[in-house]
Amino acid sequence: MRTAIQIILTALALVTVASGAPAKAADSVDPAADAKAFQKYFTDKFPKLKLSDFVNGPYSLNEDMHRQWVEKEEFPPYQFSLDAGKEMFEKPFKNGKSYADCFADKGIGVRQNFPTFDEKEGKVITLELALNRCREANGEAPFSYVKDDMAALTAYMAFTSRGKPFDIKIPNDPRALAAFENGREYFYTRRGQLNFSCASCHVQNPGERIRAEILAPALGILNAMPIYRSEWGGMGTISRRFVTCNTQTRGVPLDPQSDEYRDLEYYLSYVSNGLPISGPGARP
């Protein structure tokens, strides 16, 4: 009897191994195909929208909100932050250097290239991270990743890149592919007491209401960052958005700019390649 069970178990194990292998092969990372399928999912779901409409999130999905938004954009609530960001960006550090020295093209119109993959370090470098590294390299204290100064700086940098399509590159480096896949896995993994993944809201249910809010599509969601959220009563960065999402699903948020969040940003930005930067944005 026992041997019979063992044989069956062994057979089962063999079947699992055998069927597991090709499934894994079919699941190997092809970011370009992944991005294409991702964008197709959204354009099929919302056939009336142009690809570039997705960067305006919920405002493209609901007519009432769209009208309010058009009016709001005449005098956008992120204006003060944007002005402050411009001032900060142009003001040199104590050592005489400035942010412009840390970026290609003096930091003007480069937002669409972030996050990048640093092949020396083997990790994803986001714009927020690059900005703080720039500060530290020049003897300045780093900013908080979630709001205020960091949001103002990224708001200005996004503003100078408005209309430029996201152009995230994945170099031919297994670590870059791994970062992309890691980000994708994070995006689709359920977590928190409510057992939501990022995709539960932003892939399955964009355009639907969650209480009073209309959920934004994941496609183009980072193009509008940083955002002024009325709910926050202020500006927030991509890091803040991730932390809040995790908290709202009653999960434990990670540290801003932790490896997982950086990979997630890499994945989410890559699949929105080709969509124009619209940041800074305003959201309810």
């Binding site: 005449e74 005098f75 609530p77 204006q79 003060f80 002005d83 402050a84 001032e87 009563g233």
Partner: protein, 103 residues
Amino acid sequence: MASTIRVRATANGDTTEVQALIQHPMDSGFVKDAKGDLIPPHFIQQVTFEVNGKAVFVADWGTAVSKDPYVKFSFKGGNKGDDLKISWVDNKGETDTTTAKIA
């Protein structure tokens, strides 16, 4: 420090449309900070819009008005090039003023 007031005024026929955004915390005095201490009230009490020295819009505000308030209104009269003066005063006696030209 840049002005706390952003304004845009456009004359359109015989009416002028004014939009303004004011940077102000508008603390109601009922909200606590991270340490649990009450944030003292700090809010704009009066906003005034004047064209060529004549008040066209005066508002008495209180704690119910949101942070960084936005105002939009239109009035009869006002010509391109007229001076529009906006000022606010809050409960701490702080104040700011700016002047813009009607476009």
